[in-house]
Amino acid sequence: MRRALALLAALALPAAAQERRSGFEEMSRESQAMQRDDTANPGMLWVLEGEALWNRPDGASGRSCASCHGKAEVSMRGVAARYPAWDEASGAPIDLAGRIRQSRESRQGAPALARESEGLLALAAYVAHQSRGEPIRPPDDARLDSARARGRALYAERRGQLDLSCAQCHDDNAGRRLAGSVIPQGHPTGYPLYRLEWQSLGSLQRRLRGCMTGARAEPYAYGAAEYVEIELYLAQRAAGMAVETPAVRP
């Protein structure tokens, strides 16, 4: 009976939800092993760095992240799985890296960390790492709906000299090959993640920029509202999938 109910529940899911695959599944076994082993996953170097930054007092306030938030293992559990979220201060959606920058400036009185700087990546990786294994849970906040809808439109919008949209590869042709590589479904489960191609940790915005320049479109500047809108839509699209931060990708 219980099995029958579970089957019914599975059938009730939309088709797309049943077939969703993390990019992890498309990787070689060697890359998967690298991600699984915390002493072989280079992303853990940034997590260690982020832990040090979390506990280091900085700025005019002389406070560290830990001064207010305490132990990240407790206070940050599941937080990254809820981002991007609504920001009361700016009246706009904000992503995790944006929230960390904002907290540093307004609460710590510390100099802003540039987008994609080592310090911001390390803190974002450390915070997101606390949500590893948690399902992505986009906030049920009506104020995010219009931005999410814009993100969905941006995802479907053809761009660049190649006249390609995100959807044409990551929805219509996911699982097929582009040159030698399998096209992943593009779920943002492991950011910031260590890309072997980058030989470094990078954010989802860097990944989005990579796809845009790949389609020979002009990417938006780091921190642009358009990225946060796309991130919102992608989080909705990946709702329920487990956070992997720091993931490894080829």
């Binding site: 082993d37 915390d38 002493t39 072989a40 996953n41 280079p42 853990m44 170097l45 260690l48 760095e49 072997l196 030989q199 470094s200």
Partner: protein, 107 residues
């Protein structure tokens, strides 16, 4: 100080072959790449890695510009007796880092 990730067994039986795995944060700039301004970035790589166990060098590696950033090195050694394992990375621009871990050997 560069961050390191080390996978070293804390204890082993006498004569046991143990695998040591090391990962160090380093950009391994090749010396062949142009930067954003078009100028070639000067080389900055790790040149040598050595592992010393119980006073004897048990493993060494010469690193070259073709090796990826954040080099991962793995090797095996025979645990003979309780002794420190000293890992040392040396590189360009005076890079020199040493990490020491004790391996306890008991039957």
């Amino acid at each position: 100080m560069a961050r390191v990730l080390l996978n070293i067994p804390r204890s082993a039986r006498p004569g046991e072959v143990v695998t040591i795995r090391t990962l160090i944060q380093h950009g391994m700039e090749t010396g062949y790449r142009p930067g954003a301004d078009g100028e070639v970035l000067p080389r900055d790589i790790l040149r040598r890695f050595t592992a010393t166990y119980d006073g004897a060098e048990v493993f060494a590696a010469e690193l070259s510009p073709a090796i990826a950033a954040n080099p991962f090195l793995s090797f095996a050694l025979v645990a003979t007796r309780t002794a420190p394992l000293v890992l040392r990375w040396q590189g360009d621009n005076g890079f020199d880092q040493t990490e020491t871990r004790e391996i306890t050997v008991a039957p």
